[in-house]
Amino acid sequence: METITHNKYTVKEIRDLTPSTYVVRLERNDMKFMPGQNLNLGLSGDTEKRDYSIYSRKNEEFLEILVKEVEDGLVSKKLKRMKPGDTLEVDGPFGFFTIKEENRYAKKFLFIASGTGIAPFHSITGSFPEINYTLIHGIRELNEAYEKEHYPEGKYISCVSQEDGGDFRGRVTDYIKQHPVDNETICYLCGNVNMIYDVFDILKEQGVPSENLHAEVYF
């Protein structure tokens, strides 16, 4: 049976993006995935496992995940200490937070992320750069605009709540209220549960039908 058995993956690199956020690069091991899907992983032999969205592109030779170190976190702190050559137990890919093939180049997309919730959108936009999208990223500080140079000019909008210098000063909810979304746009939301609740309510008030709303919650 294909039970949840974790396979060994070697760590290739840890790339720090901020003092608390980093990218873990793993060998690909021929894993097939759809951009937007996630992995369940932890240290070899450790019973604690966590879900992380795949950050890397579909056609790259490696897998990457974006991790924020969580205070008292049982996995994220250990991942930070990993060195190239160490192994992780990985299972997946899982999840349905993906873009339907028939919609990919036919629809307009709005991606809304908070914090490391940007990970699946990094994978989606990198894998399908021709799609028609705007990415709104809610962060507290400018340094959380993780690898924003990945996104073409005008595609990425940072909503920075605690300092000036971003594309918008305030929360993503404020941005969306000021920039209403048309009901043809397909919206994908990823990040903390409160952001998703609030954005859902705003988008529904603006007339976006529920079938055009997709969410992936980070706890």
């Binding site: 294909e2 039970t3 549960v193």
Partner: protein
């Protein structure tokens, strides 16, 4: 003298299907199938672990069987094994602990045991679809397994951890299974699995599969068992006009609060669920919707709960399986804050049960004056036939001389019983 063997199944329809299949193998080989409360040479317990109650009942059943006959071979299988294998392995009274994917080899294991050959369970074939058609079963309807496993990883659910990744059975196998059970005299089949709406094999999705099953010749009808509100669409709604497909879905809502659904990591919103219900009811106004509701999910506020009650009232489910949330170790919800006290869960559960009872009576009463085609399950000592109509409502009627179990009978609905699960009362239509 033939060996006696007894079976006990806990939990879902998939377990029932698998037990039926294994039991049939023993019956064909000449074993005497006896009631679980009787003395037997072997006991097979197909366990459940989906809730604390499932674990509790499974443990209780294992211990009862162990006490009934010290010498009997005791085989424990099912989801509790996959969740608590180490613990069960240490129980000296259990002869064999068999994981879900090896369940299909239980006949081989026990039969070999009685012939003096001891097989280690790890040597048994791993195959989730290695189940033959059940000629013998405890039921008049035949379950057909089309799929196993689930990749949804809802935050409360242990099933993906114990049933594994989603896998679909080939249409050829399913067709063969259906034709065989039809040849055994079954006239109603129930499509079953863990997450059947996600069926996907050889380019065939769930809707396509149902369409192909409906094309199989014969006098039978098809029922879809529990399904998640995802993975299918308009095509399935239209298929409900097919005379072989019964107008009933057990579609799991779980909560009427968008916030709770999000925390559960369900793949739909309440709004989408209701739209789906609306579309099907547009096609078939008296369509029967039943559901599962979880009360007391971590962080469920009184407002969230009220939203569930309101959704239940709007949709008017004719039956609700109410579950009090129970922590499953290793699931994401285990680590969520704000777990609720049992008292609150009990109170909310009672409220849903009351609502469910009211809607059940309302829905069923709506059939008085209409006709139903009853698939007869049994005829009691007083000459009453009992069975289910196409909408999956229990019906009783005075049997005629020709009334037989596993036959269809058209009845006019003339009344409804009292009580919390009232049967409709029918009169035979010539």
């Amino acid at each position: 003298m033939n060996k006696k063997i007894a079976f006990k199944t806990l939990g879902c329809r998939l377990n029932l299907y698998e037990t039926d299949s294994v039991m049939s193998e023993f019956a064909r080989a000449g074993y005497e199938i006896v009631d679980f409360n009787e003395q037997a040479d072997a006991y097979v317990i197909n366990t459940c672990t989906v809730t604390n109650m499932g674990d509790h009942k499974s443990r209780q059943t294992i211990s009862q069987a162990g006490r009934r006959n010290d010498e009997a071979v005791l085989v424990v299988t099912g989801c509790m094994v996959n969740n608590h294998k180490d613990q069960l392995d240490q129980n000296d009274r259990i002869t064999y602990v068999i994981e879900n994917d090896r369940k299909g080899s239980i006949f081989h294991l026990i039969d070999s045991h009685f012939q003096g050959e001891i097989i280690h369970p790890d040597e048994l074939l791993r195959d989730r679809f290695a189940f033959g058609s059940a000629e013998t079963s405890f039921h008049s309807r035949s379950l057909i397994k089309i799929q196993d496993g689930c990749d949804n990883f809802c935050t409360f659910c242990i099933v993906p951890h114990v049933r594994g990744r989603a896998e679909s059975r080939s249409f050829e196998d399913i067709e063969k299974n259906i034709k065989e059970v039809l040849s055994y005299g079954y006239k109603e089949i129930i499509l079953t699995g863990v997450n059947i709406g996600r069926y996907e094999r050889d380019g065939l999705n769930f809707e396509g599969l149902v369409e192909k099953i409906l094309e199989i010749p014969g006098d039978f009808r098809v029922r879809i068992s529990s399904i998640e509100p995802e993975g299918f669409g308009e095509k399935l709604f239209k298929l409900f006009h097919h005379p072989k497909l019964t107008p009933h879905l057990h579609m799991c809502l779980q909560s009427g609060s968008e916030k709770v659904l999000l925390k559960m990591r369900r793949q739909y919103t309440v709004d989408e669920f209701e739209k789906m219900v609306g579309k099907i009811k547009n096609e078939i106004p008296d369509f029967n919707f039943t559901t599962d509701i979880i009360v007391g999910f971590p962080g469920e506020t009184e407002k969230d709960f009220q939203e569930t009650c309101e959704a239940v009232n709007r949709i008017g489910f004719s039956h609700i399986h109410t579950f009090k949330y129970s922590v499953r170790k290793g699931t994401r919800a285990e680590r969520l804050p704000d777990h609720l006290p049992e008292k609150v869960k009990n109170e909310r559960s009672a409220v849903i049960r009351d609502l469910a009872e009211k809607h059940k009576r309302n829905y069923r009463s709506g059939f008085i004056g209409k006709t139903q085609t009853v698939y007869v399950e049994k005829i009691d000592a007083r000459g009453n036939a009992h069975g289910y109509g196409e909408h999956y409502i229990p019906i009783r009627f005075k049997a005629s001389k020709t009334t037989q179990p596993k036959d269809f009978h058209k009845v006019a609905i003339i009344g409804i019983e009292n009580g919390i699960d009232p049967k409709l009362i029918g009169a035979f239509v010539q």
